[in-house]
Symmetry: C2
């Protein structure tokens, strides 16, 4: 088999919300389609991927460097012994002539391709991705259905709500609870103890018994840190997310030493190199804290498994791994790799909200899809962004596509 074409498209999110760090009104994400020369049911088999949200689309790097490099690789070098596409081999080809260090946008471009190739591979085997990932990680793949834990992510700041901000927050949390989430995460500002306490109390009341986690996105003001941590500890939150800037391991270790609250971090570390430094210097506790490295922003599955192994060797369990990015690829990884929890955007009006269409969430548990691949085809609000990528293949109206034969 070989790759016939790779299409990418930058998708504007236009979401009228923000967290303590960034606004989403001008945020973008990348959609990717890898078309193979294999045909099933009369159609070419296509692997899809959709970006994690928060660090912009990867279009430039995909077009300038990584798509041309993948298309220039010998097709045989990308296959395993069974003659099927091998995402690990593809990532190795993508990283040829890349220097160590500087893990910023590059890991996301490589990880997006890795994710699409895993979707392709699983479709070629006509199996759900989580079963392949379980095998890749050396875990037994059960015959019966697999369930995994999820938490609902919501409660962003919505500047348009004005004085109704807290009412809106309460409604979001109530809706998440009604959807079946038993753990619900909201955004805090990190700039005012009173504001953040008020917000958290509203969420706890609205959650009606579900656990509430809080996220300051690395923006907890150092001048209020001590009082903020003490006040928040009274509220029994599920965890505090990104209390320190992502690379400030020293500050994180000081916070970890003084607070009893579980801490969660790692969504802005994109490599084994950086994750290992978090492990070495961050002062996190294996029996309490959560690691949120984003799989497809961090070079993909192989690098993620290296990270998990590094932590396991230091006494951590897979249950502490709660990958960032509420997308279906991450859900497959949580199910297949036996990770702790899947983050799911609980606002179903977002194209990246929720799981496969009709998925029932029962007391925070979800049954993994049995559809082949990642199952993008079963999520209509997202698949509307992916399907047109390939439609361009037949009527070449698209301008931001790259076809094997025309890469410069």
């Amino acid at each position: 088999m070989k790759i016939l074409a790779i299409y990418e498209q930058t998708v504007p999110l236009n979401a009228p919300m923000r967290n303590a760090s960034v606004a989403y009104d001008t945020m973008t994400a990348s959609a990717l389609a890898v078309v193979s020369d294999c045909v099933m049911n009369g159609e070419p088999v296509v692997g899809y991927a959709f970006d994690s949200i928060g660090r912009y689309g990867k279009g430039g790097l995909l077009r300038d460097r990584f798509i041309p490099r993948l298309l220039a690789a010998s097709p045989a070098a990308l296959l395993d012994q069974r003659g099927l596409i091998d995402p690990d081999a593809a990532v190795a080809a993508l990283m040829k002539n890349e220097k160590d260090g500087g893990h910023g946008e590059r890991p996301g471009a490589v990880g997006l391709i890795d994710a699409a190739l895993w979707d392709l591979r699983a479709k070629l085997e006509a199996r759900p991705l989580w079963r392949l990932l379980a095998e890749r990680a050396g875990r037994p793949s059960p015959q019966e259905a697999q369930t995994f834990d999820v938490y609902g992510s919501c409660g962003h700041f919505r500047p348009g709500r004005g004085t109704a901000e807290l009412d809106g927050l309460a409604r979001e949390v109530q809706a998440a609870k009604a959807e079946g989430f038993s753990t619900i995460k909201i955004k805090l500002g990190g700039a005012s103890i009173d504001d953040d306490l008020a917000r958290t109390r509203v969420a706890i009341a609205a959650a009606e018994g579900a656990r509430v986690a809080v996220d300051v996105n690395g923006k907890l003001d150092a001048s209020i840190e001590s009082g903020w941590l003490q006040a928040m500890a009274q509220l029994n939150v599920a965890w505090v997310e990104e209390p320190a800037s992502p690379l400030d391991y020293h500050r994180l270790s000081k916070i970890a030493a003084v607070t009893p609250m579980p801490l969660a971090t790692g969504e802005n570390l994109f490599s084994l190199d950086d994750a290992r430094n978090l492990l070495r210097y961050g002062g996190l506790q294996p029996d309490r804290d959560l690691i949120q490295i984003d799989i497809s922003l961090s070079y993909g599955v192989a690098e993620y498994l290296r990270i998990v192994s590094e932590f396991e060797a230091a006494g951590w369990s897979r249950a502490a791994f709660v990958p960032h990015a509420g997308h279906l690829f991450a859900a497959q990884a949580v199910a297949g790799l036996g990770l702790g929890m899947h983050e799911s955007a609980s606002d179903l009006s977002l194209p990246f909200g929720g799981l496969w269409d009709g998925t029932a969430i029962k007391a925070g548990h979800v049954a993994a899809s049995e559809a082949p691949g990642v199952g993008f085809e079963l999520k209509s609000s997202l698949f509307q962004w992916l399907k047109p990528l390939v439609a361009r293949d037949r009527n070449s109206a698209g301008v931001s596509s790259i076809i094997a034969g025309t890469v410069g």
Copy 2:
């Protein structure tokens, strides 16, 4: 004043050489031109920048994110109180809605724009950039000529040389010595003690009294580390560069503790966040070791000065700062900020080799150019890549240009 247009071009290097980490045959770099609405001598004043080499051009990020963001900023927000372009304000505008962490390609895209704006600013003041940078850093700007120290960087692996590799290495070092360098850096492989010793001895003999530094580009094999460090210490090298992978501070600190040799590192750390972790965890010694953070790969001058301040507060001196990238912008910074040494590619056949045309190197010292700006116009081998960027302005034959009016 305002910015009329920004042009960028990816330049293929096609250099038939490699270091222990990457080959340069498919390496690219970005050239950038920022055209202002100011006219001097009948011509629009243009700020130029040319990339540091080794981590690929920044075209995609420039086109997708940073050039549009700069052009969308209010012109007034980019000016200082004198009404002139303010690179610090521009960088702040570029970093709006960017998350913390993940310092990979982004710092280089932002730093390239910063560099071009500094060239523009200095030209508007009709002064050499080093005088502006001295003022920016609060240093006295001398009336008379300024000199600074340089070292010659050469001795890459050239696969085409085959068994004549060591002869070729010797000729490169001899040529660097003849050009006037008193410190000359060569590349080692880090895979074999014998090979690296042979290479270093050849270089020391050819250097005829000039100091020889060695660079393993993060690829020193851990299995030979101890013997390699002991053997190399007998040769009295000027420094050992990147003995550990850039983010492996733990390994670096262990090496720093056991070797008497000066260590140099930092060219693959692109932010204050990462530089501070090097300072905290790398075990480097202020009276011995060298910091090689690359200014324009690291968000530019303002971030670099924050890094220098962080190290100064920990007892380091500016003499320990030897920025990566043998380009003219770095030379201006070394002269203006009073840094230790400038790295200069001693192969003058490379477009990024050497300094301004005709610059004399006397016992490792160079006189700073008095031309306005960075002085790209006085380096013909490089300016041939920059000048056509703007020529496109008048006859729109270029396709990879972005003009203010057409940014999507």
